[in-house]
Symmetry: C2
Subunit: 447 residues, 2 copies
């Protein structure tokens, strides 16, 4: 059997396009409707996708006037989905800058239990001063420090998840021994950023711990991914860029002593599907028309740290822009956007239209066959292990993908026709992690 590709559905209220909510079909209250998300997940499961995914930031992002703002906390959404689906993987974003490791480890382990082994954690460090100001800080901690803290955070979390041996629970009613206390251990982590004694207050979960996912593509981000990530989301505009990223990250993974197959790389694609190419383009154009250019211009100016007047809607970007080094927020996304504008010589207005769909992810308008071709092309050329499918409009974009594109990929032998596994790691062909304390003596008995 030839190698299969992996498909993750990146879900965002009524779709990734910032103007999607203005289409007649869209429910502008979907972002607070739990049953809406359950239905989306069920559609993805019907398509045998590997997983669904929710982005997140503990802050009100963007202008609430312009699009549906705010959303349900992702582990809450995933739990509701968990008990109303049986196979699809469930990935939620949570920040290492604005959570306590104990609470986060416990919540994700709980979702792994609730879903019978289908939980994943997209590990992010959260850019932006607005988020920092919801957590007692004045400004975003600096980029390197955020990643340093993230590394220690993941160390603490995995130790907590491993603080119970898999066979700790005996449930011996006769002897009155519920759990073998010598198989539950304190972790006594006293580090630079965190002090956590443990043990976790939950037995080791079905997957051992949630799938570890990562989504930053800066230098620090790639180093972090190589060390910890089992799946990586990334935004790539061109086949060449995607191939370099893929090759680079696999090499870094090997360099730290890991199997390159143990990390799955999933670039984003925003498919806009039509019965004909013309119909797809027409939808793309209709969406572009519904964007507010003034608001988008303001956002671009903030990203580039420029006064808004320096951006003229009908000219190219100014020559004089900051470099990635000057950016403490999302470094790799900044570079991607500058490169895109320069390469295609886009005016600010054109750039806004291109970013409206996927905020920097590759958009692709075409027929189902063309979308399948685009996916097959990158996959076969070594640019991806799979894709982060980001429908511009929901639920219709996901339904079309599942009903029209997936069958083509299946017919070509590129994608599963049935689930063969029950866990999220299983879908991605990854092994259940061993317990890091398995061969060690219990560090310290629980009490």
């Amino acid at each position: 059997m030839s190698k299969h590709l992996h498909l993750n559905a990146f879900l965002m209220s009524v779709g990734h396009h910032e103007a999607a909510w203005r289409l007649p079909e869209s429910d502008p209250h979907a972002h607070t409707d739990i049953n809406y998300y359950v239905r989306l997940a069920q559609t993805a499961e019907r398509g045998k996708l590997d997983s669904i995914f929710f982005a997140d930031s503990p802050v009100l992002m963007g202008d609430p006037g312009r699009r549906p703002s705010g959303k349900l906390e992702p582990t809450v959404i995933l739990t509701a989905v968990a008990v109303q689906t049986s196979r699809i993987g469930l990935i939620a974003t949570a920040s290492t800058s604005y959570n306590d490791p104990y609470n986060l480890a416990r919540r994700f382990a709980s979702v792994d239990w609730a879903s019978n082994g289908r939980a994943g954690w997209n590990i992010v460090t959260t850019a932006g001063a607005d988020a920092a100001r919801n957590f007692g800080l004045d400004d975003t901690p600096d980029h390197r420090l955020r990643y340093e803290k993230a590394a220690e955070f993941v160390d603490v979390a995995t130790k907590l998840w491993d603080s119970w041996d898999d066979d700790a629970v005996l449930a011996d009613k006769e002897l009155g021994i519920h759990t073998d206390a010598s198989k539950v251990r304190k972790i006594l982590h006293h580090g630079e950023h965190f002090r956590v004694d443990g043990p976790l207050n939950l037995p080791r979960s079905p997957q051992g711990y949630p799938l570890l996912v990562q989504a930053g593509s800066s230098e620090d981000g790639k180093e972090f991914a190589a060390r910890y990530a089992e799946a990586v989301f990334t935004a790539q505009q061109t086949l060449d860029d995607a191939k370099s990223f893929y090759t680079d990250l696999k090499a870094r993974t090997v360099a730290v002593g890991r199997d390159p197959e143990s990390i799955k790389i999933l670039p984003g694609i925003v498919p806009i599907i039509g019965d004909t190419e013309e119909q797809a383009r027409a939808l793309d154009e209709e969406l572009a028309r519904l964007i507010s250019p003034e608001y988008a211009r303001k956002q671009l100016a903030e990203r580039f740290k420029l006064p808004i007047d320096d951006l003229d809607l009908d000219s190219e970007l100014p020559e004089d822009l900051p470099t990635e080094d000057d950016i403490e927020g999302a470094k790799s996304r900044f570079t991607l956007i500058v490169n895109l504008a320069r390469r295609e010589r886009l005016t600010v207005r054109e750039l806004i239209a291109r970013l409206g769909g996927g905020r920097g992810h590759r958009t692709f308008a075409g027929t189902a066959v063309q979308v399948a071709d685009a996916i097959e092309d990158w996959f076969c050329q070594g640019a991806a292990d799979g894709f982060n499918i980001m429908p511009a409009v929901l639920p219709s974009g996901l339904e079309r993908f599942v009903d029209e594109v997936v069958p083509i990929l299946q017919a070509r032998g590129l994608f599963r026709t049935e689930y063969t596994e029950t866990t999220l790691r299983g879908h991605y062909g990854l092994a259940r992690p061993a317990n890091q304390f398995d061969d060690a003596d219990a560090l310290v008995a629980a009490r």
Copy 2:
């Protein structure tokens, strides 16, 4: 119509009795089985109960050897229940000492959305050094400080929940205005313990915010309850103590300018139900036999801050015990236990048997009629607005309560026969809270 009483089911894996898991009927893996909790909640809903409730602490409590230890995070359980029930209220415990207000406010608002207005938050300050050591501290912060921080925490949370006006979302597709940004405001809270700018990243939830519940009965605890709580859980052993507590807390509530009807007081009761009184007692005794006295003695010694050898299983408590002032953990529970032992002149062994069922809550073994009588008695004598039902054994204890005791209370006109409301506050006869910023000008526009 005479006033109805309120019933909350306090659920704890296989039951409140510490030896419940050793009974043949008990599933010793229930504590990690989400569907088990969903079934319990559906049973409670069948009984038209006001709500279910989960206690919690971010620490592994007690000896994992002795009883099922660790549990799923309560908001995860409640979310799974929310989407598989339609009326029952859903109350989860969360700590003000070991959470960030932004994350907690957002998670409970998400559960309120997911349940269509059925979320409640049991606000606790979390006693114990073991919990502190999971969050970077050496020891429990002192009792008074914990309550001070709790008060500021609740202030921040309610401001966040009120940071969106109820009518902020316009969803005007034509004009491209999703939300009226002037109705979403930063809260700019810069206090003693927390700095949080806001706004929350969620529209105001169906109930405005979750029902605020409280469960500490020390002096500080009662002051806090009078100011903030809409429902109060308490452990009371005698009718007299329960009446004083009730009268005292209602008076304190009036003293801070609130309506005494706006706070519902629910003492705990651990019913052990038999077809006959003898059968109930036999179950009680069987459970007592299954307790490990050595382990319970160790726990008692820790609570009393005594060397274990000072507690002789077959003697009364020593004369010389600390006073409530010396206790930085759970103050009121300490006093309750000492008083119980002294009043009834219990040996340590007898005290252990009494505490095994409800850790200080009133246990009551008898027929369904006797349990209904006990409930009616306290309710009619002004000791309670309702009860926290704490089945010693689950699921059977809840099933018997719902199938046998509830119909008696309904026949006596003391309890609802159908839900008349859809929200948790509705069940308790409480009004949806007004938005504190309603009459104020928007403090500061969101951006």
